[in-house]
């Protein structure tokens, strides 16, 4: 549980280093693994988290997603909503914590 809650507008962020993102053939999807549990990810959630592995900003992330998925309506709002939630759950953390 992180004391420092992430601000995605002002901070760089990355996938929680204690969590592991990997593709599972048996389930046919990406999962996020953490102590004694896992979350099955939708394709879009996986596409976002894959781009947060090394540390990124909201701007860089959205740019990269727009290039990969051109013409998707409301992409930035969806990404923002997902990141807010992911930050609450500690799936992503500010870089440097």
């Amino acid at each position: 549980m992180s004391m420092h809650k992430l601000n995605i507008d002002t901070e760089e962020f990355k996938v929680n280093p204690q969590y592991r993102l990997q593709f599972e053939e048996a389930q046919g999807c990406y999962v996020l693994l953490f102590p004694e549990g896992l979350i099955k990810l939708s394709d879009s959630a996986a596409a976002i988290l894959e781009r947060c592995q090394q540390g990124t900003t909201l701007e860089t992330l959205v740019l990269s997603l727009k290039q990969a998925f051109p013409g998707v309506d409301g992409l930035e709002e969806d990404v923002r909503a997902f990141l807010e939630d992911a930050g609450q759950q500690d799936w992503i953390l500010p870089v440097g914590t």
């Binding site: 549980m1 004391m3 204690q18 592991r20 990997q22 599972e24 053939e25 048996a26 389930q27 999962v31 693994l33 953490f34 102590p35 004694e36 549990g37 896992l38 979350i39 099955k40």
Partner: protein, 388 residues
């Protein structure tokens, strides 16, 4: 493994229901253990000999086969898994295969060098259990002088930045220590604490009369936990797991019998849950004789209570049957004599009086002076239960 994190096991469940993938492998590496917890959920019939334990190569094969079936969360448990000399090799193999590995340990035998080796070999998370919130209580209910060791290893795991959970197993003789436990955990810097009330299987069932708390004790402990959460919001995740006996609806067995979990015992028996060895009239499949895939999909044991077709009344026509799948088969067996009956924890069970008879006896007020004649889990005490 005493209990799961309630929050995370639910998401694991959602994905399992589609096509029954054993996402959780619990590998009980050995029954040998330096701790003698009288609330252990291991079977009473544990063998003192370690000769029948699976070899390193056999465990590698179990891991490979389980991974192929879709297992991804792995628990190394026991007994005390640190007693396996090949633990680093097993951790490395698990990592290479793509498992996320959890080590469930008493911390006895652990040191800073081992923690760093385990981390290097890919261990994901370590869970350390305490038997009491001070030296005397920890010794009284664990049968070992291990309190300082547990404290210093907790600090060491945190300083090496390996994800850590602390597990406090609760019963009527230490339930009043909840605030002390939580204060200690916070001072140590733990981020996750599980307050796991004893559930009554194996040794715990045998010692039930002296372990089951009163309703009042439980309520006090829960309210102390909630107070602590309020005072220290945001600093520590705390899970409080109440004993099943005080619920009026049962819990699913291991997220549903043979839906999510696969348990391999030190000798290679494969079970849908760690207590299932008591189910009578069924052959227990073993990894030495049969591939895991065949066991998971086709064995009599794994299909015996899968889904809802096996149910009898009142479960059969119950509108809630999909929610709890009739509850725990072992609890049904132990309390009603038939594993296919409704878990008698359910207030709709015609055998619910068996549970209330047990809980009624536990309502005597907690008296720290009361004698507590517990049978400790050790090989000497296990001898009397040996059948072969």
């Amino acid at each position: 493994m005493q209990a799961n994190r309630t929050g995370s096991s639910q998401s694991a469940l959602e994905m399992a229901e589609e096509n029954y993938i054993p996402m959780w492998l619990l590998a009980e590496l050995t029954y040998a253990c330096p701790v003698q917890c009288p609330y252990c959920s291991n079977p009473l019939q544990i063998s003192a000999s370690r000769k029948q334990e699976l070899s390193t190569k056999e465990w590698f094969e179990v891991l490979r086969q389980a991974r192929k079936l879709g297992a991804v969360q792995l628990g190394f448990s026991g007994g005390e898994p640190l007693l396996r000399r090949d633990l680093v090799e097993l951790l490395q193999e698990a990592k290479d295969l793509g498992f996320y590995t959890n080590l469930i340990t008493s911390a006895i035998g652990l040191n800073a060098k081992k923690i760093s080796e385990f981390k290097e070999a890919g261990l994901g998370h370590i869970q350390i259990s305490f038997q009491g919130a001070d030296e005397a209580t920890n010794k009284r209910f664990g049968g070992t002088d291990s309190f300082e060791q547990k404290m210093s290893m907790t600090r060491e795991v945190i300083s090496q930045k390996l994800p850590l959970g602390l597990n406090f197993v609760l019963h009527r003789n230490n339930l009043h220590q909840v605030t002390k436990f939580l204060t200690m955990a916070k001072e140590l810097g733990a981020e996750f604490v599980e307050l796991a009330n004893t559930q009554y299987y194996g040794w715990a069932k045998h010692n039930e009369e002296h372990l089951l708390p009163s309703k009042l004790q439980l309520e006090d402990a829960e309210s102390a936990t909630n107070d602590f959460r309020r005072q220290h919001a945001g600093s520590m995740d705390i899970f409080f797991v109440a004993p099943d006996y005080y619920d009026d609806r049962p819990k699913k067995c291991s997220n549903g019998w043979a839906t999510t979990m696969i348990n391999v015992t030190p000798e290679g028996d494969v079970l849908p849950c760690h207590a299932a060895k008591i189910i009578p009239g069924v052959e227990f499949p073993n990894v030495r004789n049969q591939p895991l895939e065949e066991i998971w999909h086709s064995s009599e044991l794994f299909n015996k209570f899968r889904g809802t077709d096996w149910m009898v009344e009142p479960c059969l026509s119950c509108p809630e049957k999909e929610q709890d799948l009739g509850g725990c088969r072992c609890q049904a067996l132990m309390l009603t004599g038939d594993a296919a009956n409704a878990d008698p924890v359910c207030s709709l069970s015609p055998h619910h009086d068996k549970v209330t008879a047990i809980t009624e006896k536990a309502q005597r007020p907690f008296n720290p002076e009361e004698p507590v004649p517990l049978l400790f889990r050790n090989m000497k005490n296990a001898k009397q239960f040996q059948t072969d």
